[in-house]
Subunit: 518 residues, 2 copies
């Protein structure tokens, strides 16, 4: 960067002027240094002989919190290493709890990974014909095979298949050039927040409760998190008045409100937003100049029929101008849905109505990482184009897919009913996504016991639950919750033969807990 | 983050106090907002109706430059789409230029990707026995298979294999707990820089010329890049006096010098550093409290016998205390070496002598991304433990491995000789890595023609080369070069049947260019 201009960077307003000075940096070489800073000394550089002392790290790096793998997870890992059986319901990681991948998808990936097999005389004895054909097609998307970097946005062939999938889903055009593939959806969210957040005067609206990727990323990027509430009493719908209050307050405090994040279906809250709720938020964000960030990674995890998933893009386009021209970033992944291919790390962001110059900037930043991993990209292609009806592998694929989805629907019901059967626990039905977020009404004695240990009451509760039952959950405080309320998040992912046992263990623990502290 | 404390964050010195206030954020809910900022208004939030207008993005996001996929690459892609044959020597991407993966590694990965094959009665007719056995072993490292998130540091089984590999290489202990696996080495570099850089008063020493991942990441993270020179006249060795000058200057200007990056073997410069040169820099960094960042991703790409690769860790340990206790971060990857598995995105950082509290903080930040992709992790295990001598697949693996390395050695010589045969071109021998970095002595008329187009002379030259020959290179100005010198970077990766033709094309172009502009 231009070292001279850097001294002023935090206050600089127009990025272009700096950009221009920068482009001449290399040809000037590095000899130049910033003008002396007279106002104070060099920052403290080491402590106890360590430059990388925890007290001397980037404060946002230290301050960022991620409860999904926080205190509870570390405690659970510790207990597991001591030989205790732990049920990891802290993170949406289906395969870790026994869910199987789609046979067809993995057959195709297996062939693309080892293309010499395609010429093997006996390949047809191990792989079905349509898997072989699909492997050859996918291989054509990766010149040099899976071992070569692709375009930094991801393979064009894969992006084409995804754009067609989006068009089929919404009935509106998409384009490979507005898609960026990433190693899971999380890096896509971070790219976008990194572009949006300029300094600690830029605010991003985030739901409460939220998925802590957002709070952690906003902090890492030095921005301001502006929480708006979801209304538990109306099935965790977005509370537009709360959004408006936060925006007004932020503006009064000199904060630019840059973006609004919503998660549909909800994590950790499991709601499916109504079209009306989406229209309200689109209208508001358009009128107030706020970019929409639609986290739609659970779009195929739907467990009720009243409110099927409708993408924010479709709702926006259906509304017509001016709303159909609003800036929207939509996120999707292979980690969720019925696939649950978390480990492959595949995701994308679709950038709708985003300025071409900004698309160029995002492309440039993506290129610093060269390319997303090719296996994840391949997995995305297979997600958006499964075997066609009538093809050799269709029946098996369909059977596998349905059995996962039907089972998840049953499990969503079992968990909700199980929690609601407990004294002092109330749980909204998991309409979508992969989580239950029951509300806990804990006795005063338990709250005091938690305070004595310097822990929030829900953390205290989840730790006791873990030690007693081996069930690893995440306290509501890790996601944010309205003052005076307590929750926990659990996935609905334990397999059906296990989940009743999990619920039994929870219920007897909860009974014991109430007895102990009342 | 604590919204209240954020207003002060840029000036806050102790991160711990903030950290404590943060942990109570969620339980307090989001209602609170920062105290009003009286000194000025809310920042500008949109332009021409776009919040994400290129003029209103994060200035470091816009300012970051990455020449490897910059103007030349985009021009090359444009010409390719117009049907012109382009030879992509801009990036170290071996498979894209025809290099083949190791058959054994891909067989193992193919099986792990589709584990049902392992129970198939005919699996042994497609896969050798040792690949099947290795697949079963690797599968045991991934509970839930490749579809499940691993520990955020990467699978413990894979980290164990890597730690043992490092011990065999250096003769000193390593541990899975000081290893972090990432999606290629680039994210590992960014994690570490993110932890180290606190604000624009923190400086990182980076070689000139350098790999632009460093300049781009330091800018994205808002730190200060402090360039030190490599001495072209002594085979691109580290110029310790230049390092010392930069440190003295930086301190005088109130900059904390936090880290020093070196790349060995060098990118783009191809040098292999001598043990003496490494000892000098280790001594200096220890005496001056500067963290060492050793980019050793090309450690197996060695094309001469005088200076075999020695890791910075081994040199440091051999020196004994106090140097053997110095803070060191070492980076490695599957993207380079004889494997060149760029697309899989596998890499690691080994954190030596790093404070345990800092390791915990890095682990926490890694957990926000849940886990590195599993295929890349698997690829790392296969890289550090290839087939053993005597095993069924050893002969073929060895033959494939050697043919790549022998050919690279020949190609390094062909490129160097080819460049040196040209008038006004001088090129140090590519001792290691994958690049030639010839110095160009361009006629004054060419420099003027470049200025007329507002381009640096080396960019002008590389663009003409691209349009005339289809050879896509990167101008030296993209890596940094001493004032008044001009270079270009090309990989040595075109296959041998191609590379002589590439060099012929270059030579006739260069001749034409000199005639045209002299």
């Amino acid at each position: 960067m231009s070292l001279v201009s850097l001294a002023h960077k935090r206050s600089a307003l127009c990025s272009l002027s700096r950009c221009l000075t920068q482009s001449s940096l290399w040809s000037r070489g590095f000899a130049s240094l910033p003008e002396p800073i007279s106002d104070d000394q060099a920052p403290v550089n080491s402590k106890d002989g360590k430059v990388l002392h925890p007290d001397l790290l980037n404060e946002d790096f230290v301050g960022a919190e991620y409860a999904v793998r926080g205190e509870l997870y570390l405690k659970g890992e510790e207990l597991r290493k001591q030989g205790k059986e732990i049920i990891f319901t802290n993170v949406g990681n289906p395969h870790a709890l026994g869910q199987k991948p789609r046979t067809f998808n993995r057959q195709v990936m297996s062939l693309v990974m080892c293309p010499t097999l395609l010429d093997h005389p006996k390949v047809a004895e191990l792989y079905p014909g349509d898997a072989i054909a699909r492997a050859k097609q996918c291989l054509s998307y990766f010149s040099g095979g899976l071992g070569a970097y692709t375009d930094s946005r991801g393979s064009e062939g894969v992006r084409k298949e995804i754009a067609e999938y989006i068009e089929r889903r919404d009935g509106y055009p998409s384009s490979p050039n507005q898609l960026f593939l990433t190693d899971g959806a999380s890096p896509a969210v971070r790219y976008m927040l990194n572009a949006i957040i300029r300094n600690d005067r830029d605010g991003i609206l985030v739901p409460v409760p939220q998925y802590p990727l957002y709070s952690a990323s906003i902090q890492l990027l030095g921005g301001r998190l502006l929480g708006y509430y979801l209304r538990e009493d109306s099935n965790w719908s977005m509370d537009i008045p709360s959004v408006k209050r936060q925006v007004a307050k932020a503006r009064a405090d000199g904060i630019a409100v840059r973006g609004l994040v919503f998660i549909n279906p909800g994590n950790p809250t499991g709601q499916c937003l109504s079209v009306e709720n989406l229209q309200d938020i689109i209208k508001f964000c358009h009128d107030e100049d706020v970019v929409l960030m639609a986290d739609e990674v659970y779009q195929t995890n739907i467990y009720q029929d009243e409110r099927p998933f409708v993408s924010c893009k479709k709702v926006m386009m259906d509304m017509g101008e001016p709303y159909s021209k609003h800036e929207l970033l939509s996120f999707h992944t292979i980690s969720k849905g019925a696939l649950g291919e978390c480990g492959l790390r595949g995701g994308y962001v679709e950038a709708t109505n985003i300025h071409p110059g900004t698309i160029d900037q995002i492309y440039k930043i993506a290129s610093i990482n060269l390319s997303p991993n090719t296996t994840g990209q391949l997995g995305m292609a297979l997600m958006v184009n499964p075997p066609k009806e009538g093809s050799e592998s269709y029946a098996q694929w369909k059977e596998e897919e349905s059995s996962v989805m039907d089972s998840l629907r049953r499990r969503a019901q079992i968990m909700t009913d199980g929690f609601n059967a407990c004294e002092g626990v109330s749980c909204t039905f998991t309409e979508g996504a992969m989580y239950s977020f029951p509300r806990l009404d804990l006795p005063q004695k338990a709250v005091q016991a938690a305070q004595k240990e310097g822990k929030s009451p829900d953390t205290f509760y989840c730790l006791e639950l873990l030690e007693d039952t081996g069930i690893l959950t995440v306290p509501g405080s890790g996601f944010g919750q309205e003052e005076g309320t307590l929750h926990l998040r659990t996935t609905i992912l334990p397999q059906e033969d296990q989940i009743k046992e999990v619920m039994n263990r929870f219920q007897s623990f909860h009974k014991k807990f109430l007895e102990q502290y009342s």
